[in-house]
């Protein structure tokens, strides 16, 4: 770990100013990802700007939905009564992530900003285009069991590891951002990006910008929501594949469907085509299977992750079965 200075800020403006002043400064929230990255030498900020004192940890009801502050802890959001009532999918996704100790520290903003768990990214002795553009991708011809099957590029096949973000993508959330030039909003699905030719960029947040909150609009999907995470052990493991499914079912027919996957792409992977297949159809296993087929269009594997081509559609079907109540 390099030597760094530590500053604590308590307002949005001082936070943003602190980053504007210092090119290597970074925000520190729960620290559960950033500190690990610093220990392994992947990230070496010379200044940490601790934002935990900012008043951004609340969960509030607005006219159109719920607003979750960027500093709300993952465990608090997962157990919040409003969240449980309106967006059980988000609660389930959060509870499926990491461990209780980590969730007690991790924040919503930090969770969105967490970096890939690809080992080549973490090990300075191994090649990684995301860590060091131009150095090559270790995962392509190497250990890629955990890696992406959608939206990959020749430079990067890493996945975004978040569970929470899968739910937020499915729930059509919006991100509220503040920066030196003022505030802006961005649809959650456009927050993260695909690697393309610049895999070093995980998302569209500009340097110096601060995530303030996430807005989730109310919906009618709370009764039929399920987050299914398939992993190598029963808890405390990243997803091989995860599926967030939420349905609005009436008289056995699907009025509206939301579907997103984790562990399959450089960003939380919304399945709009599969949603279209589900819409208006009877909530049966046959429909679910067709949706899963539609979801898998364009999937491509790299050896170690070939099994995801089978696992992903199966997981979609299972998640939909549970969400619909047809277990």
């Amino acid at each position: 770990m390099n030597q760094f200075t530590y500053t604590r800020v308590s307002t949005k403006d001082t936070a943003i100013a602190a980053l504007a002043k210092d090119k290597t400064a970074m925000f520190l929230a729960g620290g559960t990802n950033l500190i690990d990255l610093m220990k392994s030498g992947v990230t070496s900020p010379e200044r940490l700007v601790d934002i935990n004192a900012l008043p951004l940890a609340t969960i509030e009801e607005t006219k159109t939905g719920l607003r979750i502050g960027a500093l709300a802890k993952n465990s608090v959001v997962a157990e919040d009564k409003l969240i449980l009532k309106h967006f059980p999918l988000l609660s389930q996704a959060l509870s499926a992530g990491a461990s209780p100790q980590l969730r007690n520290m991790a924040t919503v903003g930090g969770n969105m900003m967490q970096r890939t768990r690809c080992h080549y990214f973490y090990d300075l002795a191994l090649p990684c285009n995301k860590r060091q553009p131009g150095r090559g991708c270790g995962a392509l011809g190497g250990f890629n069991r955990m890696h992406a099957i959608f939206g990959t590029s020749e430079l990067c096949i890493a996945v975004h590891p978040s569970d929470m973000c899968v739910a937020l993508t499915a729930l059509d959330a919006t991100v509220l951002i503040a920066g030196p030039k003022g505030e802006r909003t961005i649809p959650f699905g456009e927050f993260h990006r695909l690697p393309g030719t610049t895999p070093e960029k995980d998302n569209t947040l500009q340097r110096g910008e601060l995530i303030m909150a996430v807005d989730i609009p109310f919906n009618k999907l709370a009764d039929h929501a399920h987050y299914l995470k398939v992993r190598d052990r029963a808890s405390y493991a990243f997803a091989l594949v995860s599926v967030g499914a939420a349905l609005d079912i009436s008289g056995g027919n699907i009025r509206e469907a939301r579907l997103a996957m984790g562990g399959v792409a450089h960003k939380p992977w919304r399945l709009t085509e599969a949603e279209a297949v589900l819409k208006g159809q009877p909530a049966t296993e046959d429909t679910f299977r067709k949706a899963a087929e539609a979801a898998m269009k364009g999937a491509r594997s790299f050896g170690g992750n070939d099994f995801k081509l089978t696992l992903a559609p199966n997981t979609i079907v299972e998640a939909l079965k549970t969400a619909s109540g047809r277990v």
Binding site: M1, N2, Q3, G41, R117, H119, Y120, D123, A125, L126, G138, G141, G142, F143, R145, L228, V230, D232, R233, A234, S235, Y236, A237, F238, L240, F307, T310, L311, N314, T315, V317, E318, K321, V327
Partner: protein, 713 residues
């Protein structure tokens, strides 16, 4: 011992100290003037160091020294030994030359006044290497075998019987690299007093063994080497030797004339303190149509380092477990550019049992028999390898007890016939076995004027609850209440004992405790004292005053006698499990476990049950989750942390029912107790694989059984 009475379950005597933090582990020890060492490790797998630039690191704040092969003082005992490893490689002499023998090998020690400063300075060391082609992939180099000097080939009867029998079976098995990963990291704190006297706090399974290694390395007198390891946060075998990095850190402390502490990183735990070797196995088995085993062939190829042979008893179980007239076993090792392996809980036996007990299950199905009945039909009444009677063997009873408890005979034996919701349900079982040993140990007893008893022996407690078991044995012999007895261990100045390994501590040290307590009673009798109703009868204070001593003291050496040679001594376990397998996601969940141990008289029922639960948990890891993965292009691990190397978490572990036969072994030792640390794990992975077969109809012969393997077959 009152062999007809079952022992009482008692709480761990050191439990309170552990949960309150009063128990201090080596890394928590602080001494005045202490400095911190961080190791820089190689990023290539084989070759040499062309240059190593330490200038920047030396100039970093707080740095006291950066030691590399260029300025490292020679280790006197290492220089004296110039024998060649039989692998044909060269001996590992850390920081003794520019040679790199494995990835992650220490190449520099950075020592600073604080840990953080040492960590930072370590990032400033710049190394240029000359790379050579490396080998780390056993599967790729499996023909480059080397015959170990130990564990030679074995054959009895007709060597072809396995393939000429009416019913035959051939199968290959793969065990990945597994890493012990105890919670506590390894390391050492060394404090010199002048040039020829040193005190060391470390994590070791044997303080006497560590003392001996240090004594030899620095050519010191044994009495001038003091080793402390009072508490160990899990060992599982990785603490069964004193590693070369411990020695170089001790040497650094000598050179700096300052105490130096090293606490390794989790990443370094993967490359420097051993592991369960990647192993390939082949089994060929023959049986008659009515289910009698007629021939077995078992071959194993394990990996070792280029600089040292590591061997383990992978194929031993096949030689004696079943009544089979024709058995051949072969064991080979392949030297690779890797750190050396070391025994990991239920060492080679756990590896071998996975193959043998999977094959036995498969054969039972081939001859259309229940796997339990098949094993009972082929039960060996006497040890067919050594032609000796077993000192005790209650396997048949154990099979019965376990089967009843889990409802074995109520299941539908047909594969893929049982379901619960969408989940496929399977039952599986297997046998585990490990030698029951008794080594030599010395114990000292001190009986104080207040009637309290202190027992001392330089053994270890890596977690099983050694102190608790010893106190319980002393309680049985003396009748003193548990609270009046204390057992001290983990200190090399105490009377000698061997390392804690091979499931032998209760048998070995427990016998010494038994003997010394018996001797104490004799001594007391001569002085008109005795134990009665949980207290000392007679005036002990007067006796002590007359003798001018603070306590009555007896020291007793204890070891097995000649009668032990007449018997084959083993501990046995039978594991039964019920698993659920999701056919869509490939997820396997262990739902129920019943484990039966035939390990003689149970000295401490509570810690013994914990031991079985811990072993089964390790077995769940072996079966379903644990695997250290190397990218062979680079020779580096790609999951060397506890987030990606999956040890089972609580959610993976169901309630584990432990059953003890609890019948004393009449031969092994005065308590009649056989070991149980290893049998708790040995065989469990096969029980899971067999249950997965019963659930799905698919045989998985490569561990761990992760969802991708279920979906692939």
């Amino acid at each position: 011992m009152k062999n007809d009475i079952q022992n009482k379950p008692i709480n761990r005597v050191d439990g309170r100290a552990k949960v309150t933090g009063a128990a201090k582990y080596f890394a928590e020890i602080e001494v005045p003037g202490m400095t911190h060492c961080v190791m820089v490790t190689s990023t290539i797998t084989r070759g040499s160091i062309t240059s190593i630039d330490t200038k920047q690191a030396e100039r970093a704040p707080g740095v006291l020294a950066v030691l590399t092969h260029l300025n490292m003082p020679a280790i006197p005992g290492w220089a004296a030994d110039n024998s060649k490893p039989s692998s044909g490689g060269e001996k590992l002499r850390l920081l003794g030359s520019d040679k790199i023998l494995f990835n992650g090998q220490p190449i520099a020690l950075v020592i600073a006044d604080t840990l953080e400063r040492a960590q930072y300075a370590a990032t400033l060391v710049k190394t240029i290497y000359k790379k050579e082609a490396h080998k780390t992939d056993l599967a790729k180099h499996k023909t480059e075998v080397h015959m170990p000097s130990r564990l030679g080939d074995y054959s009895r009867g007709d060597a072809n019987a396995h393939s000429t029998a009416p019913v035959t079976l051939k199968a290959d098995y793969v065990i990945p690299i597994e890493v012990h990963n105890p919670m506590e990291l390894h390391g050492v704190l060394a404090l010199w007093d002048g040039e020829d006297k040193v005190t060391v706090w470390t994590k070791t399974q044997g303080v006497k063994d560590t003392q001996e290694t240090i004594t030899a390395a620095f050519k010191l007198e044994e009495k001038n080497v003091q080793v402390h390891s009072e508490f160990v946060g899990g060992g599982f075998g990785m603490g069964l030797r004193t590693w070369p990095q411990d020695i170089v850190v001790i040497a650094a402390a000598k050179k700096l004339k300052r105490p130096v502490k090293l606490v390794m990183t989790r990443q370094q735990m993967f490359t420097m303190v051993g592991y369960r070797p990647y192993t390939l196995q082949h089994i060929s088995m023959g049986a008659t149509a009515d289910g009698k085993l007629s021939g077995m062939y078992h071959e194993a190829i394990g990996e070792t380092a280029s600089y040292e042979d590591f061997t383990e008893a992978t194929v031993r179980m096949t030689r004696f477990m079943y009544a089979c007239p024709n058995v051949t076993t072969k064991y080979r090792i392949v030297p690779l550019d890797r750190g050396v392996p070391i025994w990991m809980r239920g060492p080679g036996e756990a590896t071998g049992a996975f193959a043998l007990e999977s094959a036995i299950d498969e054969m039972a199905y081939k001859v259309n028999m229940d796997p339990v009945e098949f094993r009972i039909l082929n039960f060996a009444e006497t040890d067919p390898e050594r032609n000796k009677p077993f000192s005790s063997n209650h396997l048949k009873e154990a099979y019965q007890l376990g089967a009843e408890k889990i409802g074995w005979f109520k299941r539908n034996r047909q594969p893929r016939s049982m379901k619960e919701g969408d989940w496929l349900v399977g039952y599986g079982m297997s046998t585990g076995v490990f030698g029951a040993y008794r080594g030599g140990s010395t114990c000292r007893a001190q009986l104080n004027g207040d009637g309290s008893l202190v027992l001392q022996s330089a053994t270890a407690d890596i977690g099983p609850g050694t102190g608790t078991a010893m106190v319980q044995i002393a309680h049985e012999v003396t009748g003193l209440p548990i609270e009046k007895i204390r057992f001290e261990l983990g200190d090399s100045s105490l009377p000698p004992s061997g390392s804690q390994g091979g499931s032998a501590t209760v048998s070995t040290v427990g016998s010494a405790v038994y003997d010394v307590c018996t001797a104490l009673k004799e001594m007391m009798a001569a002085k008109g004292l005795s134990f009665e109703n949980g207290a000392v009868k007679g005036n002990i204070k007067d006796v002590l005053a007359a003798d001018g001593k603070p306590y009555l003291e007896v020291t007793k050496e204890s070891k097995g006698g000649a009668e032990q040679q007449k018997y084959s001594m083993y501990s046995f376990s039978i594991h039964f499990t019920e698993v659920h397998v999701h056919p869509g996601t490939g997820v396997v969940r262990v739902k129920r476990v019943v484990t039966v141990a035939d390990s003689g008289r149970i000295v401490s029922p509570k810690t013994a049950a914990s031991q079985m639960i811990g072993g089964v948990t390790g077995g769940i890891g072996m079966a379903l989750t644990e695997e250290a993965i190397i990218d062979h292009r680079y020779g580096r691990f790609v999951n060397n942390n506890l987030a990606d190397y999956h040890v089972p978490v609580s959610a993976d572990v169901p309630h584990i029912e432990t059953i003890f036969i609890d019948k004393p072994d009449p031969i092994i030792n005065p308590m009649g107790s056989k070991g149980m640390g290893e049998i708790a794990l040995i065989g469990f992975s096969a029980a899971v694989a067999n249950a997965v077969y019963h659930a799905t109809g698919k045989r998985i012969r490569e561990l761990p059984i992760t969802p991708d393997k279920i979906l692939a077959v």
